[in-house]
């Protein structure tokens, strides 16, 4: 008889339980609250996220496998869980105003955001293909619905349908790869799998599995050539959801990627490094060059987010402890600047203005100096200008690549960030060097102001004082996997 599950296992998934409970409370409160009081749901959601965050505290330095190796509770998971919760909270903050303007009902919306977060947390903790897959699906299904949440909007509906169809397709590819991995090793546990695969580098079926999983994960992180969905979906989905999708879903997929490849397939590192090496270069380059011509800001940020997936892959390619550290650092840093940029777009959304066209930013520094300054900061940070956090992140990524001997990767990364500045600065040019347009004044609600303040503060502080983040990220990276990552292969 297989061994049962113990009480201690439930203790270790306390944060997930709290979040689930919170999600259910939101769902019930939605029914119980009178229609005009439903705005309070955002508070319930925020409290749920806060409580989950607080319940992570006991596990600050835990490192265990629970439920017979289905889930790991370690610092790596913790780092990502904090990232997801913060990103979700910021998303909720910027959704308040957006839902009001769009006239959408908040109950199911917040419930789905919490469920998506739950899925991400499971993904980050999963060290078993079963858990990872279930987490992935929970997140993905929530996002399919969220992307189409603004029902009157054709763009939103279209985004949802596209995302769903392509998501299902890519999932098929991913599952094929996973089933091959299971079939070859006879286990779904990644760590056991790693020991079984030792010495199997030449096995063609394993190579096939690696390629298929790379493609499936590549879809989730929007790496070229699996990226086509991203611009359409990002542009069509409700802006806060786009923000959450481009940050949370991407970070969770990177967590999954690191778990699968670093923990489960260290034997194949020669192959997946090469694959990610190529993907990284192509993704950066295509993302940046395509972003140059965009006039819609959400679409531009979609391509920019594609390009950023390319940068983050640099850390994965390096594969060293430092590379993984850089990946974690960059994902966190990227979250803040990306969320901040989207928050500014939400701020510009008014009854009469959609706010995501470049021309909507004309002369913003006159109309709303703080928002313009915040956007300036996010753009510079995305472009990697010191002393912002984005610079720090890129610095870590590129130096990790150099450290591991991938000089050309670093050079291409630098070249790409030079290109990327072109379109980021175009936004700055519009805000600071163009005549103001006529239209109602964009006013920040308290929630949006808090969102922007958090993002600005994080972008500046992590750039000026990155030490703490670095130490945390390094400690987290070191708990990844039982298999030591040795020096990089060239």
């Amino acid at each position: 008889m297989p061994a049962g599950i113990s009480t201690s296992d439930f203790y270790y998934i306390l944060p997930e339980l709290v979040l689930t409970a919170g999600a259910l409370v939101v769902l019930i409160a939605d029914v119980l609250l009178p229609k005009d009081r439903r705005a309070a749901l955002s508070w319930v959601t925020l409290i749920a996220l806060g409580a989950t965050l607080a319940s992570l505290a006991p596990f600050a330095s835990t490192r265990v496998e629970i439920a017979h190796g289905l889930i790991a509770v370690d610092r790596f998971a913790l780092f990502f869980k904090i990232l997801f919760l913060v990103a979700a909270a910021i998303t909720v903050l910027m959704s308040v105003r957006y839902l009001e303007v769009e006239g959408a009902s908040p109950g199911e919306y917040y419930f789905l955001i919490l469920c998506a977060t739950l899925g991400m947390m499971i993904m980050a903790g999963g060290i078993d293909l079963v858990t990872i897959f279930i987490g992935l699906e929970t997140m993905a299904v929530s996002f399919y619905i969220l992307a189409g949440f603004i029902k009157p909007s054709q763009r939103s509906n279209e985004a949802a349908v596209k995302y769903f169809l392509l998501g299902a397709f890519s999932l098929g590819i991913l599952l094929y790869g996973m089933s091959l991995m299971y079939g070859l090793s006879g286990t779904t546990n990644l760590r056991v799998m790693a020991t079984r695969f030792a010495g199997q580098e030449q096995n063609p079926l394993l190579v096939l599995a690696v390629i298929l999983v790379v493609a499936g994960v590549g879809f989730k992180i929007a790496a070229v050539p699996f990226h086509m969905w991203a611009p359409d979906v990002y542009e069509g989905a409700p802006t806060p959801i786009t923000a959450f999708l481009s940050v949370g879903s991407k970070a969770a997929s990177f967590a999954m990627l690191l778990r699968i490849f670093v923990e489960g397939l260290p034997a194949m590192s020669g192959d997946w490094r090469l694959l990610f090496y190529v993907l990284s270069i192509v993704t950066m380059t295509v993302g940046n060059f395509a972003a140059v011509t965009q006039s819609n800001l959400k679409r531009m940020l979609a391509y920019s987010s594609i390009a950023h997936a390319g940068y983050v892959l640099i850390g994965v390619v390096a594969g060293t402890a430092r590379g993984v550290t850089a990946t974690l650092i960059y994902l966190l840093v990227y979250s803040f600047m990306q969320l901040g940029a989207f928050a500014v777009i939400v701020l510009l959304r008014r009854e009469d203005v959609v706010g995501d066209e470049l021309k909507d930013f004309s002369g913003l520094h006159v109309r709303n100096p703080f928002a313009a300054f915040a956007m300036l900061l996010f753009m510079l940070s995305l472009g990697g200008i010191p002393p912002t956090a984005g610079f720090m992140g890129k610095f870590w990524l590129f130096s990790s690549a150099i450290d591991a001997g991938y000089y050309w990767l670093a050079v291409i990364g630098v070249l790409n960030s030079a290109v990327s500045l072109y379109y980021y600065v175009r936004v700055v040019v519009f805000m600071y060097l163009k005549k103001e347009t006529i239209g109602s004044e964009p006013k920040a609600t308290p929630a949006l102001a808090v969102t922007l303040a958090i993002a600005v503060a994080a972008t500046l502080i992590l750039g000026v004082y990155p030490r703490l983040l670095f130490e945390v990220a390094e400690a987290s990276a070191r708990t990844l996997g039982m298999v030591p990552i040795t020096t990089a292969l060239r």
Binding site: I13, C115, L118, I134, V141, I145, Q202, P204
Partner: protein, 170 residues
């Protein structure tokens, strides 16, 4: 040997019906082919000794979901010809080309694999043949309890999603 023949026969049927599902012009026929497809998948489960799964497959997919499909198709699409088939952008050639390429590559891998056999895997512990309901239940409610519970959340999400999409007014 007999098992191998059975496997290939069932697999060929699954593939064949899948192709028919997407190529048939009549939507109702398409759904009916889907039922057949699901039945053969169930047969595959039986072949693998997973009778419980096979039963569930028949009950849930062939019995429940596809019947629902049929209702929807008959209610909604009664008069309209299936548009997709007149779609000029179908890229049939591209589709066939890609499918052929995948097939070719998989074949190449199979050939390569049989020519250069890989180093033998360390012995895998034999998976207990758990064809009966009791064992599946044990696994689900003990070792895999947590994913099982998460799956319930997943279903809840799907349900809420269906409501969101179906609700006329938000």
């Amino acid at each position: 040997m007999a098992q191998a023949i059975a496997f290939y026969f069932i697999a060929a049927c699954i593939l064949g019906f899948a192709v028919l599902v997407v190529t048939t012009r009549d939507t109702v026929h398409s759904v009916l082919f889907l039922v057949l497809d699901f039945l053969f998948v169930a047969a595959l489960y039986v072949l693998l000794g997973a009778q419980f799964l096979a039963a569930i497959q028949v009950l849930v997919y062939a019995g429940g979901i596809v019947v629902l499909y049929l209702f929807v198709v008959m209610l909604v699409n009664l008069k309209r010809p299936p548009e997709a088939h007149e779609d000029p952008h179908r890229r049939t050639k591209l589709g066939f080309g890609l499918a052929a390429a995948v097939l070719l590559e998989l074949g190449a891998i199979a050939v390569y694999g049989s020519v250069n056999p890989a180093a033998p895997m360390p012995a895998t512990p034999a998976i207990p043949v758990s064809g009966n309901t009791e064992q599946v239940g044990w696994l689900l409610y003990t070792s895999y309890l947590i994913p099982f519970e998460i799956a319930s959340m997943l279903l809840l999400v799907a349900m809420i999603g269906a409501i969101v999409l179906a609700k006329r007014e938000l």
